[in-house]
Symmetry: C2
Subunit: 416 residues, 2 copies
């Protein structure tokens, strides 16, 4: 059994109907009924393509093609969950492309086109997005030992539901899922979520590094008081303090060359969030990202100064907790070379590219040789219903991932 | 039956135990179990003091002393509901003071100390605070015809529960409650929630005017996109837009003389409020208040200009909907004179004072002659667990309100 490009596009259309939104996107946050419906459809798809399904305790959903009994696995995947009101491609494209690549490569091995030395599997990592349950990349984080399983399962959404409860509403775990020690190679394909491939008119990207990043949790403590009668100099307004922090984070990017620093604050809680009571506390995320580690270091330093100014101006106390930080994190150069060789064999134009966004491959690449591929995004739009990748780019990506998979499964060198 | 000052303080302590918070305040938002428990205790209190209870369809809870069968009513009251994590005094002090004043004045009339020409009632207005169900002053708004009953009952909290459902969980309405046309006079006492009486060392305030105010609902529309990969110039970040609006509203106050303009933003909703997706929309309240109508007019004009700058800078669209506006709204000068005469008869130091905050009396005074009184707040703290009024000030207020009530019930002139 193999698959066609028209079959891939037809599957993508059907898959995009789960959690479909009026604006042409999807809304299927991790563990919601919409996510479970997508997982259930994918389960049926796996069975229809003779891939054995296995689900681990963290909710990661595998489809297995055993080519060499007892051998380690080449694993391909991404995630089917989405942000709220998100696009159809982010993650879901990569899972379906991986599933088709597994089927195509397995068929080629069975047809004797090459001799496999590994087994082959596709994975749908649970909760990559982290919008309902924080942190993001949860399923691959547990799989790679970065996040304890118990911590993940006990994580609550804003309504108090746990990951364990959300998973129990879907398909149960099986005891036959692969584990980290049985994985030999990992590959993932994703839409770029940026404009570089499109602007340079290049067909595929070979991801060689992640941007450096620092992620903070920022808490502003003020004092509740009456919005009307409290004199302005007496106020310790935690929402005004937050506004100064948000503006400072944004305006920090203007102190560097264009493209050298990205910053964002996107989630904010206000207490008590009442129309007639000044906020006593606000809590927000704050991210800084750069393709240059020295820029990031300077930005982190400047952020501290700007926060002190915001504190003084708003008479609040701002605490800045660094929750994650990473440098320019390289992907395996040999993996990049393997991807490049595959693109050249297929005649696709290609370039090395950095990823600003995190991916499940960011977790996997620290443990096994990993190949990360990009296809172009129209206008770079992502986390938006208008996210779009052209059909010809989408199927070209499936073809590239299939060629990469054939090379990985036959044991081409990926060690540096 | 009459009451003592020590009895008043003892009642106040018991009443403050409903919805009590660890920080010494209360949390009993309208229609919650904590609000119903307080209402239920007050119902028992009314019966114990031979006041007949009646509850109207908007949840306003009355205690009636019929002195002159068929005559109109002198009504005294305030509200028992609170902000989240609020102080014990705001509203609740005024209801209990009114209840004691009703009992004392009724006893004096029955003892033949004066001849009543009106009946006498205390009221606990439903949902003055408006934190759970917007708008504020809901019960008195329905009572005075400013808000349709159907609109009030259909109002939902953030969890989707309606006012009708919240009321049904408590005591049922009776068909014997007073209505606007049967009210002859209204009086209310409240803590100042400001520092003026304390700073000037004055015992009681006679409220002669409200500050002028303009209240807006502000919506900022941007575009969802990825917090990491979206280039800074491409972003249309609705939370950054909100931050600029919040800062602009605050900094507007610095363009006027101290005390001439208060502004606040205290409630903000962020969509989708995800850690990795730039906000597509934010919605917030924004208030401007001034003791000078020309200052308010200039501030409203300047706000429009600052909003246009925030829009341009954040590449968002900001819409500013004026939801409420009022000028320097006078209380009846004859009512102020009556309050002043009562204070002088008791030997209390007094001053005329403006109110920045809205009160149920703001609704009533547009329909019936109204007397509004203040007692001092320590440090002006309000909408905060640390809100405090000294016992001697609290009981002095009960005595003043009792004297005002005697004068109102015997028919002293309050027409201008």
């Amino acid at each position: 059994m193999s698959t066609s490009n028209t079959g891939f596009l037809a599957d993508f259309t059907v898959m995009s109907s789960f959690g479909a939104t009026p604006g042409g996107g999807v809304d299927r946050q991790a563990g919601t009924p919409e996510d479970h419906a997508t997982r259930s459809w994918f389960s049926t798809w796996l069975a229809g393509h003779r891939l054995r399904e296995a689900v681990d305790a963290a909710g990661n959903q595998f489809g297995l093609a055993e080519l060499v009994p007892g051998a380690p696995w080449v694993l391909l995947g991404s995630h089917l969950d989405s942000q709220p009101l998100a696009g159809r491609y982010d993650g879901a494209y990569g899972v379906l492309a991986a599933a088709h690549a597994v089927v195509r490569a397995a068929a080629a091995a069975e047809a004797g086109e090459f001799t496999p030395v590994f087994n082959l599997a596709v994975v749908n990592w649970f909760n990559e997005e982290g919008s309902r349950f924080t942190p993001s990349m949860m399923g691959s984080g547990v799989f790679t030992g970065k996040l304890p399983l118990e911590t993940a399962l006990a994580t609550q959404d804003l309504a108090g539901a746990t990951v364990a409860e959300a998973l129990a509403a879907g398909s149960p775990a099986s005891d036959s899922a692969p584990w980290l020690g049985s994985i030999a190679r990992y590959a993932e394909i994703h839409i770029e979520q940026g404009k570089i491939l499109e602007e340079q008119n290049i067909q595929v990207g070979l991801v060689d590094r992640t941007w450096a990043a620092a992620k903070y949790l920022v808490t502003v403590d003020g004092d509740q008081s009456h919005t009307g009668s409290t004199r302005m100099p007496d106020r310790r307004d935690a929402l005004y303090g937050a506004a100064l922090v948000i503006a400072a984070a944004r305006e920090l990017t203007e102190e560097f060359e264009p493209g050298q620093l990205h910053s964002s604050v996107s989630q904010l809680q206000v207490l008590p969030n009442s129309p007639v009571t000044i906020a006593r506390q606000t809590v927000m995320n704050l991210d800084l990202r750069s393709p240059d580690e020295s820029v990031l270091a300077r930005a982190m330093d400047l952020l501290g100064k700007r926060i002190a100014e915001a504190e003084a101006r708003s008479r609040t106390e701002v605490s800045l907790a660094l929750t994650h930080q990473w440098g320019l994190n390289p992907y395996s150069p040999a993996g990049v070379r393997l991807g490049r060789a595959a693109a050249e064999a297929l005649g696709f134009s290609h370039m090395d590219i950095m990823t600003v966004a995190g991916h499940d491959s960011t977790n996997l690449k620290d443990h096994v040789p990993t190949v990360m591929l990009f296809v172009p995004s129209v206008d770079g739009i992502s986390h938006n219903e208008a996210e779009f990748t052209r059909d010809e780019d989408a199927v070209r990506g499936v073809e590239l991932l299939t060629e990469v998979t054939r090379r990985l499964v036959r044991g081409d060198a990926v060690e540096d």
